[in-house]
Symmetry: C2
Subunit: 497 residues, 2 copies
């Protein structure tokens, strides 16, 4: 340890403590979703709120501003300086929020999320609203405070927690453009696909076989089972800690593709976490850069790789092995099943073309919701109108497959949704870059040689942690900042060629 | 809330915070044993050590002595006063230990326990010693500090954490007496049982069927699955929190009785936890009185109830349902299987007669180990000699079924073992009391009417939490303090009558 950077070293120790206590918070959060029996929830909510408040106190310690300033005067290496920049970012975000609000939000979201698990299947929008109003109230207060602190507009201030630097102004441009061509593309693809016959797989697909299939594919994709697990939860997620990644999925016995592709998706998150820079573990530098970049990894796995005809050809025999031979499992047919475009109600089941419509809709509802332009009561009507407008589907009265379908709102994750589509765009940008460097990429994937893909992702994304801003990382990896043209080109080449 | 007890209320709030953070510690500890993949261990150990240090800091806050004194002057109710007494007990124990030692011990035990999981099957005593030496070092330092603080002798000071008030002097008397008659009883019972034919069940016993059987029996025993779970771990335990009890077991497909009886055992712990006084939850008063009392509950379930011929008659049909009909599953034969006495190597597999020998042996080794009279290297020879002397079995070279068989030493739980046999004695004392009040108790059990048993336990033990000392609780429940004669009478009546 250098003795010329005493204050930086002190800060580094504090962040290590935060990382360790956050570890317990993550595991208990995963357990809440994957294991916890219902009567445990009140106590768990109280425990997680207590921990959130404690971590918040640590992140807002009165000595921090002085320490951060002194550390900035110390002779730091470039990554240390980047680490300090991220410490300051965390401190600024935390410092804008009083402990009472943090605790209230943790309680409100724990309650709302837990009740949502039974309210959603019961289509109980009125019951949901009772808890959700308080969740939104805390989200708005949070936005107001973060906005005052950062000078960003309210929604931008929330989004900054997930995707630093992203703004409504940029989103309005990007999503506005997508809105122009997406409905037309969906129609074109549907027209083309209506002339391609698809054989439906015949179930049931036993859970045990699905789990074994998912685990086999996770192994092909390099997931380290010595440092992570796959379990079941209502809403699949990738939680835990970089040292012990907890992926979840869910199984329906009448259908296997959603859990398979969902697992491939979460494996992308999992590998990012498992390959963050270990020598920095515990420090802000060692965390994933942003949520859009995180999604760029899950979507690199699910869409760029997992839905690639070459990769589908590799997993087709595993599918047949899991469920017995069927004509539906022939590589070409399986690929048609996986890439079938069909406007539907559920975001997480959406194909990669219509998915963006779900995100645009949520963005267009949660932005005015946070900025106080609309109230929770207004959501269903807006939802219905936008679903009809963007995808031509009718959601009236169907709350469980409408505004209650996602865990994000019960959990106050306002500003998160856009990251999904930004991630799809970045993923296309990464693979466009890889293809320029490796013209034989498609053949490699078809041959099961994924090492080059993983090496590229490890080198350019995973191992970089939070060392650079998203823009800088994108420039270093691909020569340019976010360029949605790659994503449009990917869709046109995969779905119209 | 009364405004005449401001300091007491403040303390109460602090203990609620301890309870909440301890919740995360418990769940993460359970997860470490039941779920965690191997590469997660270093990070988990560091996280748990951080939390242990944090809780320790809270329990040794410099303001506490003054607060405890001021609160003692406030007009408290009798249970509040008992709660305050327990706060002081916790504070005294914590205050005797410096944070650095607490953290070192947490790290040492996490490492040792984790390595033990693979070292034990490999019979790697030398490898185990490498970690265990540091564990013992921390245990001795702990004993020295606690002894200096309390004036108790070192081993008594450690035991006081689990069974407040118990001493080597009393144990030497109680165990010394047992040593007199136990070997003779074992021989007599073996002689009697050698003339009773027993039909062996024929395996395999599939894990899924065993799990279903265990869960069915847990339901019969009143375990609340809405507030707890059953999972698998190397060493079965009952963890989690009162609001969410995490029981574990382990399954061997060639044998089903050890997981079944182990589960019945842990269910006793689980129901104690699930029925602690809810209105006091979070306060010391709401925690289980002591480990001997905890064991008195698990052994009430496993030995007094679970091995009662009437109860065995009730579960025999469930066993046949789980594994298919076999002559071995006839009630009488099943009871003979469950109550078969056979000196063996493994404590957790021991019958209720020879079990005490395992405890006496451990007590006679860990007491001098803690008091510095012997070293870890001396353990195998002592173990071998005492196993031969007490049970006539040969353990030479077999470390995995010898001194490495328990999780207690890797986890530094020195002073815990005696609680098992004290628990067996208390359990017999409770049932002797119940039989005096309900002469038809045996018939009730045989009829599946366990409500009276559970009501008695709830009223006399569970709902009392830590309101009374163990002696006082025993007097209130049974009219006398610990009286091992009930246990001897129970054994003689069950095994020689």
């Amino acid at each position: 340890m250098s003795h010329t950077t005493p204050t930086y070293d002190e800060l580094s120790g504090q962040w290590t403590r935060l990382h360790r206590l956050g570890h317990l918070q993550s595991i208990a959060g995963w357990d809440q979703a994957a294991n916890m029996p219902p009567k445990g929830n009140e106590a768990r909510a109280a425990a997680l709120a207590e921990m959130a408040a404690l971590l918040h106190r640590m992140r807002t310690d009165a000595r921090l501003p002085g320490q951060l300033e002194r550390a900035e005067q110390e002779p730091l290496s470039e990554p240390q300086r980047a680490n300090l920049r991220e410490m300051r970012r965390e401190w600024r975000a935390a410092n804008a929020l009083p402990e009472a609000l943090v605790q209230r939000q943790q309680l409100a979201t724990s309650r709302c999320e837990h009740a949502w698990r039974t309210q959603r299947p019961a289509n109980d929008w009125a019951g949901f609203l009772e808890n959700f109003r308080e969740v939104l109230r805390t989200g708005r207060e949070e936005a107001t405070l973060l906005s005052a602190e950062s000078g960003l507009r309210k929604y931008d201030a929330l989004m900054d927690r997930y995707e630093p630097g992203m703004t409504c102004a940029q989103l309005d441009r990007v999503f506005g453009e997508v809105r122009q061509w997406l409905p037309g593309l969906v129609r074109q693809v549907q027209g083309k696909q209506s002339r391609e016959p698809v054989i439906e797989p015949v179930g049931p697909f036993p859970q045990a076989a699905q789990r074994a299939l998912c685990e086999a594919v996770m192994r092909q994709l390099g997931f380290d089972f010595e440092a992570g697990r796959l379990d079941v939860s209502t809403h699949p997620f990738c939680g835990g800690v970089p040292e012990d990644v907890r992926m979840t999925t869910r199984f329906r016995e009448d259908e296997f593709l959603s859990s398979l592709m969902g697992t491939i998706h979460e494996t992308g998150h999992g590998r990012y976490e498992q390959n963050l820079p270990r020598e920095w573990l515990g420090q802000p530098l060692a965390y994933a850069r942003s949520m859009a970049l995180h999604e760029s990894q899950s979507l690199s796995f699910e869409m760029q790789l997992g839905s690639h005809p070459g990769f589908v050809g590799r997993i087709a025999p595993l599918v047949a092995q899991a469920f017995g031979d069927q004509a539906a499992f022939a590589p070409g047919n399986l690929h048609r099943l996986i890439t079938r475009v069909k406007p539907g109600l559920i975001r997480v089941d959406a194909d990669e073309v219509t998915y963006a419509a779900h995100i645009i809709l949520r963005y267009e509802i949660e932005r005015p919701l946070i900025e106080g332009e609309i109230e929770p009561e207004d959501v269903p009507a807006l939802w219905d109108a936008k679903m009809m407008e963007l995808l031509g589907v009718d959601t009236r009265g169907n709350f469980k497959d409408g505004p209650m379908q996602d865990v994000h709102w019960p959990e106050a994750l306002f500003g998160y949704f856009p990251c999904y589509s930004l991630g799809a765009m970045y993923a296309a940008q990464w693979f466009a870059t890889m293809r320029r460097a490796m013209p034989d990429l498609g053949a490699r994937i078809a041959g099961g040689d994924l090492a080059a893909v993983f090496d590229w992702l490890r080198e350019q994304i995973w191992s970089q942690g939070s060392r650079w801003t998203t823009d800088e990382l994108a420039r270093r990896a691909s020569g340019e900042t976010l360029n949605p043209a790659h994503w449009r080109a990917h869709l046109e080449s995969r779905y119209l060629a």
